[in-house]
């Protein structure tokens, strides 16, 4: 079976900067895919999305408001986020759309025109 938006973990090794892998979801929606990735603390300015060699990389850097005071209990992690997905060739990389709202990045990955199912009218 071929997975159309596959995660690529190999690229995440051997990096000098430490990143954490954010959780995400992939939903197939008609003529494309929707990718949602959770990066709490990241806004538009800290977001970097790139496609290279059929690989989609999302890097999110937190904009931490300068919290004053002493940390007395911590569960969150200070590192920035990074995740790479391998794109299926059927996805039109030029038409990928992205938005971020309340720390969730939503990417729309439309399939290229030539792979969409087409109805052919019989004349």
């Amino acid at each position: 079976m071929n997975t159309l938006v596959r995660e690529n973990r190999n690229n995440e090794r051997g990096q000098s900067e430490q990143f954490i892998t954010p959780s995400g979801s992939v939903v197939e929606a008609g003529d494309g895919y929707t990718l949602e990735v959770e990066m709490p603390g990241v806004n538009k300015d800290g977001l970097e999305i790139s496609v290279e060699n059929n690989e989609l990389t999302i890097v999110g850097r937190r904009s931490r408001p300068g919290l004053e005071g002493k940390l007395i209990h911590r569960e969150s992690r200070p590192e920035n986020y990074r995740r790479t997905f391998e794109l299926d060739p059927s996805i039109d990389a030029d038409k990928i759309g992205a938005k971020i709202d309340q720390g969730v990045i939503t990417l729309t990955l439309p399939k290229a025109e030539h792979v969409k199912p087409r109805k052919i009218a019989v004349s």
């Binding site: 949602e36 004053e68 569960e75």
Partner: protein, 153 residues
């Protein structure tokens, strides 16, 4: 007597190579989980959602910071009772019926976190903001809990 250890045949039956590499990925993904959250979010493994919570304090305030990506402001409840701050809420699914989830790691549903505050706070002056998926609750300390300088006469 020979001292060569007997190796049971089971030990020699290695899984094929590709299975090893996927096992390795699975193990690596386990280690990618934050250390603290593997305690704090144990509930998540069994179907619950337990967002990460940080607690700060300075001389005037106690501040709770909770990671709640993708919520609506009105779906977050904050309450204070007997010195315990509780943050709860629900994230609703936005997937419609015609869509097919390929894989999902995002949690949909209810969550609840409680934390015992280190000092007494002034319940009337609590404020909260929700920005970039982070909830920040500022709880001003009660007057009697603030550190005081006592002047020696």
């Amino acid at each position: 007597m020979s001292l060569i250890r007997y190796q049971s045949p089971e030990v020699m039956a290695w899984p094929p190579l590709d299975r090893w590499s996927s096992l390795r990925d699975d193990l690596n993904s386990l280690f990618e989980l934050p250390f603290w959250s593997s305690f704090a979010r144990q509930g998540q493994l069994f179907g619950g959602w337990s967002p990460a919570l940080d607690l700060y304090q300075d001389k005037d305030n106690v501040v709770a910071v909770v990671e709640l990506p993708g919520m609506k402001k009105e779906d977050i409840d904050i309450s204070l009772r007997d010195g315990t701050l509780t943050i709860s809420g629900e994230r609703k699914s936005q997937t419609s019926n015609g869509e097919k989830a390929e894989r999902t790691e995002r949690y949909i549903g209810r969550f609840r976190r409680s934390v015992t505050l280190p000092t007494r706070v002034d319940a009337d002056k609590i404020s909260a903001s929700y920005r970039d998926g982070i909830l920040t609750v500022t709880l001003p300390k009660a007057e009697e809990a603030k550190p005081k300088q006592i002047e020696v006469k």
